[in-house]
């Protein structure tokens, strides 16, 4: 299989406008004959559904929460990037493109990344038009701040609740279309399979989580916007319901998965405090603008942070990366923290944290100023830990946060199944092997508002004259039967261990072997470990109740079943990439001073995987990346 990314020819700056100028349109009168399914109501899904409905396509939209406003996007704190150069600090579309590509360790497509930077300008305009109350200067102009990994201030923010405000904007646009009758919304519905007819995506099977019954939905195209699967690590910064089921089921129906092992581990999460813990809470990265990160110079230090004199502290990020210091990109900061923790310098009860210290900033700027900037984060910290971070440093620790991998898509955001699109965090995205802060909200939004409306129309224009498939088609029968069999099967195991038990075990295994650092030995062991865990799952799982009622344990079990398969693919992916790049750190491939050692000669590709059945190995189809406009360089932040 040759993967065709369908990147338009011509200069970087004009690729997207050329594409738009040439993309086929659908006559407004014909659009109502082309229904579209959008799964997910996060930033990607809500913006896409609203935009497509405005254009006149009948849209059916799904989410598993009780309301479209509650998608995981709501939790994003720090901000959203745009190359507006409002601060006159030298920002430009090109610089943002370059920063993003370099941040991702040159493992993303030039054309996609350039388009992301280009569309960023419109996104801010769009959000402001919808009423998003971004931070403003006293004169009324929009305000910006800088964010991990870049040296310009291009991050727009709405206090520490940027995701919430952007999502509410998109949700409100969606609600407007619902009230106009152009979107039919199914909340508390979970997509459990994809229906492919004659090679094209034609519908989904979803479970109504209120009744337990499976339902069929047909359409001329299906858009998956179901977010990331980082919750596979169990402990993560993601919401509890985040899952990989929709993309995984699509994968098993023929869509390739790209770079599944690239997981961002965020450096500033709160550390784990006990086994009962269900998630880790992120502290916004913006804290790194004023907080200094350190650990004691002595291993096993017992003194309280404030009793450790300045000269006995190791500001390891400032020491190792003098020009970026505490603002070093996430992969670098996380790995540096892990390195210190593993070497025995960790702090806190479980010795699994590092300090994030505001004392210097408070001394220099005053407590009020710090309170104004980060007050809500400090109070959140206090709520969770009962500690006062104005008086003593915060304790932070790396945590799984974001999946850079996902369904493989071409420039049009279409997967390898015609008619199946993937947007937002559900696709393998434009972030390469690492995501710079504040680029994800951006990607989710531009995919939905600005890109998909063009590329989907281009596809649909070809479907107009084709015969329409309804839910009576035998393929719907077949797929629905598969779903029901699986659900009943999970209920019937009647073992002695809960879905959470397996999820926790899997998460720990992955974090240790396919987390911040990986080795061939560890990954090989992990693949074996996952197989054993999977066998145990199907023998010993307990799900109470039945499939035809409200049953959140059954929901969890289905998601864990998928995680147990995704995990194995993640390990295969990590094992096959014999280099270190971005968030993927293979211990065998590092420089003498412990930095990632990339191998452009052999691994400058996106790894796309094909499912070959549960007892077969997945097959790799590399999409070789061509860099026409920039020269690959060593990613150095020192």
């Amino acid at each position: 299989m040759e993967l065709d990314a369908k990147i338009p020819a011509g200069p970087l700056e004009t690729k997207w406008s050329q594409y738009k100028a040439q993309a086929k349109l659908v006559n407004p009168a014909n659009r109502k004959k082309l229904p579209v399914i959008v799964v997910g109501t996060g930033l990607a899904g809500a913006s896409a559904a609203a935009s497509l409905a405005e254009q006149g396509y009948p849209v059916t939209s799904f989410c598993f929460q009780d309301s479209a406003r509650r998608a995981h996007s709501v939790a994003a704190q720090g901000g959203v990037n745009a190359a507006k150069n409002y601060q006159n600090d030298g920002d430009s579309v090109y610089r943002m493109f370059y920063d993003t590509l370099k941040g991702g360790d040159f493992r993303a497509r030039e054309a996609n990344v350039y388009r992301l930077a280009e569309c960023s300008l419109n996104l801010i305009d769009q959000a402001v038009a919808q009423g998003v109350p971004f931070a403003r200067e006293y004169g009324g102009y929009l305000s910006n701040r800088s964010f991990g990994g870049v040296q310009v201030s291009r991050t727009f923010y709405a206090r520490g609740q940027t995701g919430q405000q952007l999502l509410l904007g998109a949700y409100q646009a969606l609600m407007r279309q619902v009230s106009l009758g152009k979107v039919t919304l199914y909340s508390r519905h979970e997509m459990l399979d994809l229906v492919v007819v004659e090679g094209k995506a034609k519908g989904i099977i979803a479970r109504n989580l209120d009744t337990g019954l499976t339902e069929r939905f047909a359409a001329e195209a299906v858009v998956i916007a179901t977010g990331g699967f980082g919750k596979i690590y169990y402990l993560s910064t993601l919401a509890m319901g985040c899952n990989g089921s929709a993309i995984w089921r699509a994968h098993k129906r023929g869509a390739l998965m790209a770079c599944p092992s690239w997981t961002q581990i965020h450096p500033t999460s709160l550390p784990q405090s006990g086994d009962y813990q269900s998630k880790l809470t992120l502290m916004s990265e913006s804290l790194r603008n004023d907080g200094r990160i350190w650990v004691p110079q002595l291993p096993d230090e017992q003194r309280a942070a404030n009793d450790i004199p300045e000269q006995e502290r190791d500001y390891y990020l400032e020491r190792r990366y003098p020009s970026f210091g505490n603002l070093a990109p996430r992969d670098i900061s996380s790995r540096a923290a892990k390195e210190r923790i593993d070497a025995g310098f960790g702090v806190g009860a479980q010795r699994n944290a590092v300090y994030l210290d505001f004392s210097k900033a408070i001394r220099e700027q005053g407590k009020d100023k710090i309170k104004e900037k980060y007050g809500n984060l400090f109070s959140m910290y206090k709520k969770i830990t009962a500690d006062d971070a104005y008086a003593a440093p915060m304790k932070i620790s790396p945590a799984a946060h974001f999946s850079m991998g996902g369904l493989w898509v071409d420039y049009e955001l279409m997967t390898t199944i015609p008619g199946l699109f993937a947007i937002g965090e559900a696709n393998f995205a434009d972030h390469g092997a690492n995501r710079l802060g504040a680029n994800s909200l951006l990607q989710a939004c531009v995919d939905g508002y600005f890109i998909l409306p063009y590329t989907l129309a281009n596809y649909l224009s070809g479907e107009l004259k084709k015969e329409k498939i309804t839910t009576d088609h035998p393929e719907f029968d077949r797929v629905e039967k598969d779903v029901v069999t699986q659900l009943d099967g999970l209920c019937d195991i009647k073992g002695t261990k809960t879905a959470d038990y397996f999820h926790k075990k899997l998460g720990k295994l992955l974090y240790d072997k396919c987390g911040l650092s990986r080795s061939a030995e560890g990954l090989t062991a992990a693949i074996e470990g996952i197989k054993i865990l999977r066998t145990a799952f199907y023998k010993d799982l307990i799900v109470p109740g039945t499939a035809d009622e409200i049953n959140s344990e059954l929901e969890k079990a289905g998601r864990v079943a998928d995680y147990l398969e995704i995990a194995e693919l993640m390990c295969h992916d990590a094992l096959s990439r014999e280099e270190s790049c971005g968030a993927h750190f293979r211990e065998e491939y590092q420089t003498a001073d412990g930095e990632a050692l990339r191998d452009d000669e052999n691994y400058c590709y996106v790894s796309a995987w094909e499912w070959k059945g549960k007892d077969s190995l997945p097959v790799l189809h590399p999409e070789h990346l061509k860099f026409e406009f920039i020269k690959l360089s060593v990613r150095s932040y020192s």
Binding site: S47, V178, Y276
Partner: protein, 248 residues
Amino acid sequence: MKIHLKIWRQKDAKTKGKLVDYMLDEVDHHMSFLEMMDTLNEQLILKGEMPVEFDHDCREGICGTCGMMINGQAHGPVPGLTACQLHMREFKDGATIYVEPFRAAAFPVKRDLKVDRSAFDRIIQAGGFITVNTGQPVEANTLLITHETAESAFDSAACIGCGACVATCKNSSAALFTSAKISHLAKVPQGEKEAAKRVLKMVSRMDEEGFGHCSNTEACEVECPQGISVLNIARMNWEYTKANLLKD
């Protein structure tokens, strides 16, 4: 610590519910309230019983999904918190805790602690948005909004739609939720143009959904995990009166 729970169990909207007693012997005081519930559920499942159904997702106090009455208070005893952010250290060893669903005619119970809050979405559908198409907006900085206005709009926009205001109100009024959206959009220039139409539609939708009237007890503000101010309600009333007066 030991905790004695009295939890509302109800199979569905039609079946009668009741409080059921549960004992937990080893609750860590660092646990969040929902982690304590997870622990209980794990035990119930292993005994072959149905776990307690409750809604939750972000567990960070921002998605608005979790919501339950804890000892008679929406989201529990600590002001300014959602249930997911409440920690067991707030309770004494040996405490008895009552856990019940949010109660309001407009929020029917689905099962146990899960309720149907879709009425909130329908209030937003009635007009809680700015009528702007996607794709071709004007340059953002052509629209100047002072720092103070943006901050004040944000204060209203911060509502997470959890429903605590409704659950705590003796009239089950949705005035705080509705007014927060009305104020947010009325305060910024983008939303001003439609303010009159919006307030009329949203208020009438709120009534149709079966929410009660606001009688200014201000309990909603006390229980709101986001500290949304009742001044929003005053603003909504003002916008409403103005819209009615100027209506043609």
